[in-house]
């Protein structure tokens, strides 16, 4: 059991970041499985909110989309999207939201719209969905993304969802209620944001990963925390929960 994949390390690190959190706005995929792991470990009171309008879901199987019927059966509440975005999200009721994207910059700004020029894109991505307002309103934003040079870029092709914009303090100046990105969990390392600059810096490297490995996958030279640590590897219990209970098919293992 001491052997684990980079994805498993990423999920475990994301789950741990939720310690003590009560409400999380969650997408499907990696964030969903991280939240489910957190519920069983560091955040027993965690309630999952899905942008489809579901609060307090209790799915009997791993949901395949945020609108999966298994999320509705036996949920505590299912409401309209007007209520979900107006009352829950914009109303400031969500502590943490998970986001990801095709591109991220040093300030945690995210692009999910286009690669290339907007009018003549190289790749047309799905667009905002709820991400733009989630990024503005969730009290904290946690980001999960695989580290790669294509994704961690010096300059976004399009800014879909605001992180710390041009640097620390800019969100406050614009009156944004949420505190913005707090952590970026990748398959190689964990970043946190420097309060003074609003820029992400490496705070821990996953076991076996060197700082050069991280730098090689980034479009800018990242700050590194003076207290750079090694990420605690997954415990046997975390791996057991992941493999036996949460993802028995191994969908999220690689």
């Amino acid at each position: 059991m001491s052997d684990y994949s980079p994805s498993e390390m990423m999920i475990v690190a994301a789950a741990r970041a939720l310690a003590g959190v009560r409400t999380v706005f969650v997408g499907v995929g990696l964030p969903n499985i991280a939240c489910n792991l957190a519920q069983r470990t560091v955040a027993p009171d965690l309630e999952l909110v899905y942008e489809s309008g579901v609060y307090g879901a209790r799915p009997r199987r791993l949901p395949l989309s945020i609108g999966d019927p298994a999320l509705i059966t036996g949920a505590l509440s299912v409401c309209s999207m007007a209520d979900l975005f107006g009352l829950y999200l914009q109303g400031g009721r969500l502590e943490v939201a998970f986001l990801g994207g095709a591109q991220i910059d040093r300030y945690g700004n995210l692009n999910t719209t286009v690669i290339g020029d907007y009018a003549r894109p190289k790749v047309r991505l799905p667009g905002s969905g709820g991400a733009c307002e989630i990024a503005i309103h969730a009290r904290q934003v946690f980001i999960i993304m695989r580290l790669s040079r294509r994704s961690f870029v010096e300059r976004l092709d399009f800014l879909t969802s605001p992180g710390h914009l041009g640097g620390a303090g800019e969100r406050e100046r614009l009156g944004m209620p949420g505190r913005g990105p707090q952590v970026v969990v990748t398959d190689k390392c964990v970043f946190r944001f420097d309060p003074a600059s609003g820029e992400m810096g490496v705070v821990s490297l996953h076991p076996g990963v060197r700082l050069e490995d991280v730098r090689a996958e980034m479009g800018w030279a990242p700050r590194v925390s003076p207290d750079l640590a090694e990420t605690e590897p997954p415990t046997q219990e975390e791996l057991r929960l992941l493999r036996e209970e949460l993802d028995p098919m191994g969908v999220y293992r690689s």
Partner: protein
């Protein structure tokens, strides 16, 4: 006064070339049967509105029905891109397609403004984002009470909203449960409303639970009884989502010829939804049969 009609007649009567159409339903209750009938009737130059265009608009765009898409999330959820939309945008195949995009709350807000007959709806979004730069309809205004600028979007009033639901009476009093999406707002914003249901029920069923009535007959023009009419999406309590099909569409739609062949077989090649259901075969509906999880009744006495 019954509003019951066939899908053929509802579409022929209310959906015209050039119309602005909203087939809403977030993941659930997506009106595929109506979309296929629109394709069969050869409608052109439609402006298609949906938060998540999903396969339903990918198919309509592949069939050449649309000139413009108004949306907030362009993908096959959890699977990948919408290939037919991409071909239309990038290569004008089979026709050019204009995009007008918002965030989810922006789309909801446009429907609310339309339904509430407001000149705009305010939302705290878009600050710092590039979206307003590419969509001039997104504006910012100052609050007369201070507190900085707030984004606004204009009303969206479709010519026709098509709403799939579990049940309605013959007058169109419609009850929907599970995910509610933006259906109520889209319906109230629209000039005409077509309701498509799994079951047409006696008015007494509706009257037994008036809080469950999402859309009153007051705003409904036509009621179509079309079992399995939302497949491959799902209807809570009636059938599950056909995730296999959502995966298969990714394969089919990558290829233009395969997409056309699929449309030939499953849309043009069947006369109506009943034939599609028959052709899909009983094992499909067995596979998608949901569990039982009944609500506890409440007393309205």
């Amino acid at each position: 006064m019954s509003k019951l009609t066939t899908m053929h007649d509802a579409i022929a009567r209310y959906v015209h070339d050039g119309d602005t159409i909203a087939i809403e339903g977030f993941t659930a209750c997506i009106g595929f049967a109506a979309a296929h009938e629109i394709i069969r009737q050869g409608r052109r130059d439609l402006v298609l509105c949906r938060m998540t265009p999903d396969l339903v608009y990918d198919q309509m765009i592949a069939a050449g029905c649309a000139r413009k898409l108004i949306f907030s999330y362009l993908g096959n959820p959890g699977v990948g891109p919408l290939h037919a939309v991409r071909r239309a945008v990038e290569k004008s195949i089979p026709a050019p397609l204009e995009l007008e995009e918002y965030s989810h709350f922006g789309m909801v807000a446009r429907y609310i403004a339309g339904a509430y007959h407001l000149p705009f709806f305010p939302l705290r979004s878009y600050l710092g984002s590039d979206l307003p730069k590419v969509n001039p309809r997104i504006q910012f205004i100052e609050s007369p009470y201070g507190d900085g600028p707030v984004a606004v979007v204009p009303p969206l009033n479709p010519d026709v909203a098509i709403i799939h639901a579990q049940r309605a009476d013959a007058n169109g009093n419609t009850q929907l449960w599970g995910l509610l999406g933006a259906q109520k707002e889209a319906a109230f914003a629209a000039q005409h409303v077509i309701v498509v249901v799994e079951e047409v029920v006696d008015e007494e069923v509706i009257r037994s639970d008036p809080n469950r009535t999402l859309i009153p007959g007051l705003i409904v023009d036509a009621v179509v009884h079309e079992p399995y009419g939302a497949h491959p999406s799902y209807v809570q309590g009636y059938y599950d989502r056909d995730n296999d099909f959502y995966l298969r569409w990714d394969e089919i739609s990558r290829d233009e010829a395969a997409t056309r062949a699929w449309l030939e077989e499953w849309v043009y090649g069947v006369g109506d939804r009943a034939e599609y259901v028959e052709k899909m075969g009983r094992e499909t509906w067995e596979r998608l049969r949901p569990a039982q999880a009944w609500s506890r009744p409440v007393n309205y006495g």
